[in-house]
């Protein structure tokens, strides 16, 4: 078992995202960092169900197969993440119209 697998890379992506949310000053970059967190989580989840040399459990004969449940769950998360990002960007447009800035330090 190597340390370079989907689970660790997913967790590292989540941490990078959190670092970004805390340090970036631009609202759009913060929202993109939240997206990175969700991408990391999706990778983490899909890797949970990974089985070495497993196949996709679709029609046909198979003995060893990967767990399909995390993959189906992640389809939902993709949709949720998409709608949250869309709404966040729409709100950012409104904030820019009202305050004429995207810098969190000036929005206080």
């Amino acid at each position: 078992m190597t340390w370079v697998n989907g689970i660790t890379i997913g967790i590292v992506l989540v941490l990078i995202g959190f670092y970004g949310v805390m340090t970036r000053k631009n609202l759009i970059k913060i929202v993109l960092c939240i997206d990175i967190i969700f991408l990391g989580l999706i990778l983490f989840f899909v890797s949970i169900g990974y089985v070495e040399e497993g196949v996709a459990p679709v029609l046909g004969e198979f003995t060893l197969f990967v767990d399909p449940l995390p993959q189906t769950l992640m389809l939902t998360t993709v949709v949720v993440g998409l709608s949250t990002t869309a709404l966040a960007l729409a709100l950012i447009i409104k904030v820019y119209e009202k305050y004429k800035t995207l810098d969190v330090r000036e929005l206080k």
């Binding site: 929202v31 939240i34 967190i37 995390p70 929005l107």
Partner: protein
């Protein structure tokens, strides 16, 4: 019989869809559309009430209704479950949402003309009811997201300048908290193999024995993520903005119901780990709860804006509930569950009152408030006495039980903090009540702010419910006791 459960989620979703369709026709005059929307929303809520009335005898006699969506085995599929605990919270939230809907009929002119407000309102109701009913942890996350996304939109319904900023702040924090929640769900799935709470509970109990470090990670992730949503103390800073800037009916629901949704999730998920693990970690919850009480009360004292003050008061009341959950004895938990219901009724009533009073005196600054309609002022006094905890009202009963439980469990310091906070809360509520009784200045004649019956009746109903629950607390306590058995079992 139990197939009726899916309707509790499906009816608000369907209503939201129908309401969003009413925004389409171009040539119909919008007064007709508004009437159509009112009829649709009221009938949607009415259907929900009927379904709950059908479920009531079974749920209140201690039965558990379960329904597996799509006929999958509960191990893999999504199960819905209605027991006394979820039933009591669903009833309270449907009631408060119904009353706030009446309040918003004359209130939300512009936003409703666009047809967005009602659609998102019902999406939010679907999210609330979904979180209460679901038995699947991932599904709980999905319903939380439905709920939060519609709340982000509803906060901006007043179209004020600050509302966009408050909503964006809430959105960023809520997304981070749901990311942490999802992370915890992933670890639970990896180690238990199922996301159904019944099966996950067994897996988590064996996880406590075999791999306690991982269990602590899961607990911390859940505590932080639900802590952002309930606004326990180091994570509370988004709440005053979002709750005070949102339009009044939405503030009432945010403070009254949506904070309770995450408290419900807390109780459900933490008790899955088993009592042994819970008693190890519960002091952390109890002390953060006490810190929340202290900070919320002290910050409420210095506020000048009435809705901001109510928002900080919510933080301190939520702290009392969290303390009760953290103490973890049967008595304290019973008090906490009763206080959840009480606070939902009282705080939503107070926010609705504050909306009317602030509208009548044309300012939200506490020192410039005026009495306005006497009925509303009386309800405000009753509701705020309830929150402070004056004997014949419901807040007294639940606070007293939590304090009694705290002393019994050797947490006398926490009981002292709760009592001190109650005394201090007189300070900020009486400041508002004092403003009612000052001399009236002659003002220039301005057109009267019309309080329609739709706005004042919900307030009266909530105030009367508080008095009833205060005079006959056994109704609430018996249900809380039954609910507690359901959670433990």
């Amino acid at each position: 019989m139990s197939g009726i459960l899916i309707l509790l989620v499906a009816v608000p979703l369907m209503t939201a869809f129908l309401l969003s369709v009413t925004a389409l026709p171009q040539k119909v005059p919008h007064t007709t559309l508004m009437k159509l929307r009112n009829v649709l929303s009221v009938s949607g809520m009415g259907v929900l009430c009927v379904i709950l009335a059908v479920c009531a005898p079974a749920a209140l006699s201690g039965h558990v209704l379960t329904y597996t969506v799509g006929g999958w085995s509960p191990f893999l599929g999504v199960a819905l479950r209605l027991d006394a605990f979820s039933f009591s919270l669903v009833v309270v939230s449907v009631l408060v949402c119904f009353l706030a809907l009446f309040y918003s009929i004359p209130h939300m002119g512009y936003m409703r003309r666009m047809g967005k407000y009602d659609a998102f309102y019902f999406l939010m109701v679907a999210g609330i009811v979904g979180v209460f009913l679901t038995r699947d942890i991932f599904n709980m996350y999905v319903f939380f997201e439905i709920l939060s996304i519609s709340v982000f939109v509803l906060i901006t319904a007043g179209e004020k300048k600050e509302s966009y900023k408050a909503s964006l702040k809430y959105l960023i924090l809520a997304s981070l908290s749901s990311a942490l929640f999802l992370f915890a769900v992933g670890i639970i799935y990896a180690s238990c193999g199922s996301l159904n709470m019944d099966y996950a509970a067994e897996g988590m109990k064996s996880m406590v024995e075999e791999n306690p470090e991982l269990m602590y990670v899961v607990f911390t992730l859940l505590l932080v993520s639900l802590g952002v949503k309930t606004s326990i103390v180091p994570l509370h800073f988004w709440l005053p903005d979002a709750h005070s800037i949102a339009p009044t009916p939405i503030s009432a629901i945010l403070s009254g119901i949506i904070l309770k949704v995450s408290i419900y999730a807390m109780v459900r998920l933490f008790l899955l780990c088993g009592w042994q693990f819970y008693s190890e970690v519960s002091p952390i919850i109890a002390y953060t709860g006490a810190a929340t009480v202290a900070v919320g009360t002290l910050l409420a004292l210095v506020q000048k804006d009435i809705k901001r003050m109510l928002a900080y008061s919510s933080i301190s009341q939520i702290g009392i509930i969290v303390t009760g959950i953290g103490i973890g004895t049967d008595l304290a938990l019973q008090g906490a569950l009763f206080h959840v219901v009480n606070h939902a009724l009282m705080k939503s009533g107070l926010f609705l009152c504050a909306g009317i009073i602030a509208g009548q005196s044309r300012t939200r600054e506490i020192s410039k408030l005026q009495m306005g309609a006497p009925g509303v002022a009386v309800s405000f006094v009753v509701l705020s006495l309830g929150i402070i905890g004056v004997p014949p009202l419901n807040g007294f009963v639940s606070k007293f039980i939590i304090c009694y439980g705290a002393v019994q469990a050797q947490y006398s310091g926490l009981a002292f903090i709760i009592l001190a906070a109650s005394v201090l809360s007189c300070g900020y509520y009486f400041r508002v009540i004092q403003a009612f009784f000052k001399k009236k200045k002659r003002r220039k004649k301005t057109p009267m702010y019309r309080v329609s019956r739709f706005m004042s009746f919900p307030v009266y109903i909530l105030a009367v419910l508080c008095v009833i629950l205060g005079l006959f607390p056994l109704i609430g306590l018996q249900i809380a006791d039954l609910a507690l058995k359901m959670v433990g079992g």
